[in-house]
Subunit: 224 residues, 2 copies
């Protein structure tokens, strides 16, 4: 198994996170590195989804992963073992989210000079990560079936912010009272431009659709 | 359906939350009102569990519920409709947790003079709520099977802090890779004094054990 690099980051000294996030987005564009900020509740399947996705994307892109967590290293180890791509662990010093300064520290540590695509797995939390622009090129989130179809109503900001919403664990849909149409309608009411894809990271269902989404997204990002 | 009172709270002006929390605990003891702070991830089953529990406890105690949420009123409406007990909605003004001052505002609004037992449903989040003492008489949490058995490793503080940990959705355990013994071992490593009860709020399984836990807890609290 690869050795995992762990860095500890603290809240940025910059007062204006939004300004710093815009600078980071421009820096990433200059370097040709597309950064994806991935958010969800704890246990929605971020690491499993990233593993399935990266294994299909890695033949076309040089990929890196930054796993943000309060305390443990289990996700970065799992990603490194199961995908082989470069991955680091970011410890947030107890913080419940990442801001642009913390994200930049992570990027400096992973070294983006040889990377086309970097996934940032944010802290598992539907509230705080949505309030801070990390400077990523795009935001995505995962909602999982067992969490319930009312989450877009209760945690509106994260759904408003994300270009891509994956609805995961659809293999378990018969087990839970989850109204897919109602859920999608609420998401689109919050965010009419959201792309919503139903997936099962466990069985691999529709992961190819997510792969196509990223091909299109990177092509259009590079062209602009 | 009852009309739901909604209050909006802001971060307390008091610098020292811990001090304010201790004062609140003493105030509750003077009034003979036991306050339970309930934490979990979004979608772990806080409202469903509270509903099942309150319907078994309400013959013995005068119960109130404070539902904290960033934006919606759906939980307070659901509790009022399905249990008939007094319930209010607390809007946190975007905050990801409650502190002792915000909790006191809620208690003033619900009026505890005729209440023996109040449940505070904190914002769905495993990170921030654990960092702030609300002043409650006890802390409890719900972990649900679909979230995974590694959560005590990844969100240690909330597990360290809670007297009672309910493991919910055990009706769905065959559907997920969840190692119950490993999970319990990790929780007890973090918090050797935790009481852990496996439940299904959906089917009602073991809710009577939780009822017994509260009878014992209130008896010993009143005796001290």
């Amino acid at each position: 198994m690869k050795e995992i690099k762990t860095i500890v980051v603290n809240r940025s000294a910059y007062a204006d996170n939004d300004e710093e996030a815009e600078l980071l987005r421009a820096y990433l564009k200059d370097h040709g590195t597309f950064l994806v900020n991935l958010m969800s509740s704890p246990g929605a399947g971020k690491t499993t989804t990233l593993t399935a996705l990266i294994n299909l994307l890695k033949k076309d892109y040089r990929i890196g992963v930054m796993e943000a967590d309060i305390d443990s290293d289990v996700d970065a180890l799992s990603i490194a073992k199961n995908t082989g791509v470069k991955s680091i662990q970011i410890h947030t010093s107890g913080m419940c989210h990442l801001d642009a300064g913390m994200t930049k520290s992570g990027l400096d540590s992973i070294n983006i000079s040889d990377l086309d695509l970097v996934f940032l797995e944010n802290v598992g939390n539907l509230v705080c990560p949505a309030e801070f622009d990390t400077g990523a090129s795009m935001d995505m989130m995962i909602l999982s079936i067992p969490e319930g179809d009312d989450k877009p109503l209760k945690y509106p900001l994260v759904f408003e912010k994300c270009d891509l919403v994956l609805i995961n664990k659809i293999d378990a849909i018969d087990y839970f009272d989850f109204d897919m149409e109602k859920c999608k309608k609420t998401i689109l009411m919050r965010n009419p431009n959201a792309t919503i894809i139903e997936i099962s990271a466990k069985t691999g269902k529709n992961i190819n659709e997510v792969v196509n989404y990223f091909h299109n997204k990177l092509n259009s990002w590079r062209a602009n």
